[in-house]
């Protein structure tokens, strides 16, 4: 019996997209519970509905059927969510700092000076406080993505939703950001739901990996990642548990089985 506190309950969600006589079932009868403090990755091939599921959880897209419930905190206050987009969505006419402030502006209880202060703290967390007054387009792709992360962190979310945030970055930048995210997450203890198609990335970051398959998008299985924390301190990929998990995920997603070791071709 799972005794962990549920943060988001996805119940029997189906999402159908209609466009010019073509009907696509992006998600079919997906149910999943997200637990407090976990780092959950939604993994699957393109078209499996992982981004759609994340958008539904974040309230950016409606469901066709089923429901998503974000449960309040123990004292009854609603949980705050924020979103990190794959294409960052920074406003180019605003400075880095003003972009981070954007997420706080709708909250009328926060004064102007407090808004600025909190945004600077968020920028410090991602290491970009010295770029506060720069226009976003003078920053590299990786740095822009970190501004997007700072904007999401500034609202001090209970649940952080991240949609393939490192998908468009080169390998070196991506690995650097993965490490930074892992450190931030262990530091804050926020629940994170993270969409990716990169199995290594999912294993490195997550405590739980949710596998989805396409046509129609559906949930295959949920796997715990049993690897020690502080994963930036050791080589996760070569850990036997990670290797086994990686193989399991690939097998599970492709439906193919792989032999444990290669066999030499016989002539």
């Amino acid at each position: 019996m799972d005794t962990r506190e549920i943060v988001v309950a996805v119940q029997d969600v189906t999402k159908v997209f209609h466009s010019n006589e073509v009907t696509v079932t992006a998600l079919q009868n997906v149910s999943i519970d997200i637990h407090a403090g976990e780092f959950v990755s939604l993994v699957g091939p393109s078209g499996c509905g992982k981004t759609t599921l994340l958008r539904i959880i974040g309230g950016l897209t409606n469901t066709t059927k089923g429901s998503v419930e974000t449960l309040p905190l123990a004292d009854g206050t609603p949980r705050k969510m924020s979103f990190v987009f794959q294409d960052v969505n920074l406003l180019p006419w605003r400075s880095v700092l003003r972009n981070v402030e954007f997420g706080l502006e709708p909250i009328s209880a926060i004064s102007k000076s407090e808004r600025k202060e909190r945004s600077m703290v968020a920028l410090e967390k991602v290491g970009l406080d010295s770029f506060a007054s720069s226009p976003p387009f003078t920053l590299s792709g990786g740095m822009q993505q970190r501004v997007g992360l700072a904007r999401a962190l500034a609202v001090e979310p209970d649940v952080l939703l991240m949609d393939e945030p490192f998908g468009a970055l080169d390998n070196f930048t991506r690995e650097g950001l993965q490490e930074q995210l892992a450190q931030l997450w262990e530091d804050m203890g926020t629940t994170i739901i993270f969409v990716t198609h990169d199995i290594d990335e999912a294993i490195y970051l997550s405590t739980e990996v949710v596998l989805l398959r396409s046509n129609p998008g559906r949930l295959v299985e949920t796997l715990p990642v049993d690897l020690p924390p502080q994963r930036w301190t050791y080589d996760v990929r070569s850990e036997p548990a990670a290797v086994t998990l990686h193989r399991h995920i690939r097998t599970s997603l492709s439906g193919r089985t792989y032999d444990a070791s290669p066999t030499a071709p016989t002539t």
Binding site: L60, S82, N89, P92, E105, P106, M143, V155, Q183, D187
Partner: protein
């Protein structure tokens, strides 16, 4: 707390003061722009020189010459036979200023409404298309019938002619900005008003400026026509009178001065656009 370092951002090496940088910038600018500037000035010189030269063989009453025009400008400007160009400019600038202002206010509001709201789009879009397609210049007699031969008629005429370009450009920009950043609304619970003022309006600024340029051109034309047709006033009226009297020198003088003023206006708009929309090439 975990402190993260910014990833590689190179700084410009070498501690030479800005002076060297400035000289370098000037040199680069000269290399890129000087040759083409020389050519365009050359073309203008040949055309004006040719005109001046051919003036010797042509009837001065119908064509005049650049030299004559230049000579006549000071007198035309201060005390022409039908009143000074300066005072005509004053009258015209009032009409033009208020007319354009009206166009900017109405056009921007219409455009923002159309771009920002589906309901407004469905209602107003066909009307704006109608207004933009209608020959608004033909409304001139109607303005006279309704409002007489004064400022009101001319200002209204200028506004009606030049507001459509403003509305259409703003609508395109507002819609693009609205759709581009729409995900931010649910992600950060952004109220509609804040989305309009913080995202849609700043995001449509490049298109608003494009609209201003179009409107400026239309408003200039409308201003001259309204001066000619409504109460023979201002620049348009003056040009008409000089034309009627075959005072070609003075007529050209009016055209030259008006062109220079319009050119300055365009430059000012361009300058403002570059200041306000410096981000536009990067979005």
């Amino acid at each position: 707390m975990v402190q993260l370092q910014p990833d590689g951002m190179s700084t410009i090496q070498g501690a030479s003061p800005d002076l060297r940088d400035r000289r370098r910038t000037t040199r680069v600018w000269a290399r890129n722009h000087l040759p083409s500037m020389v050519v365009s000035i050359g073309i203008a010189a040949v055309l004006i020189g040719g005109w001046q030269f051919s003036g010797r063989y042509l009837n001065p009453i119908t064509v005049s010459t650049p030299g004559e025009i230049l000579r006549s400008i000071p007198t035309t400007f201060l005390h022409g036979p039908y009143g000074s160009l300066a005072s005509a400019l004053g009258v015209t600038m009032i009409d033009f200023g208020f007319g354009l202002l009206g166009a900017l206010v109405i056009g921007t509001s219409l455009g923002l409404a159309i771009g920002n709201s589906r309901v407004a789009r469905n209602i107003l879009d066909p009307l704006v298309a109608l207004g933009n397609s209608s020959p608004t210049i033909a409304l001139l007699p109607l303005m006279i019938i309704w409002f007489g031969f004064g400022h009101a008629s001319r200002v209204l005429f200028i506004t009606v002619v030049s507001m459509w370009g403003m509305a259409i450009n703003t609508a395109v920009g507002a819609r693009k900005a609205r759709e581009r950043y729409e995900d931010l609304i649910p992600a950060f619970s952004v109220p509609p008003r804040m989305y309009l003022t913080s995202v849609v309006i700043p995001g449509s600024m490049p298109f608003i400026f494009a609209g201003i340029r179009v409107s400026l051109a239309h408003a200039l034309v409308a201003t001259i026509i309204s001066g000619q047709e409504i109460g023979n006033s201002g620049i348009g009226g003056l040009a008409q009178l000089y034309g009627d009297q075959f005072k070609t020198n003075d007529l050209f003088g009016v055209i030259v001065v008006t062109t220079i003023i319009a050119l300055v206006l365009y430059r000012v708009i361009e300058f403002l656009r570059n200041r306000i929309c410096s981000w536009v090439n990067y979005s």
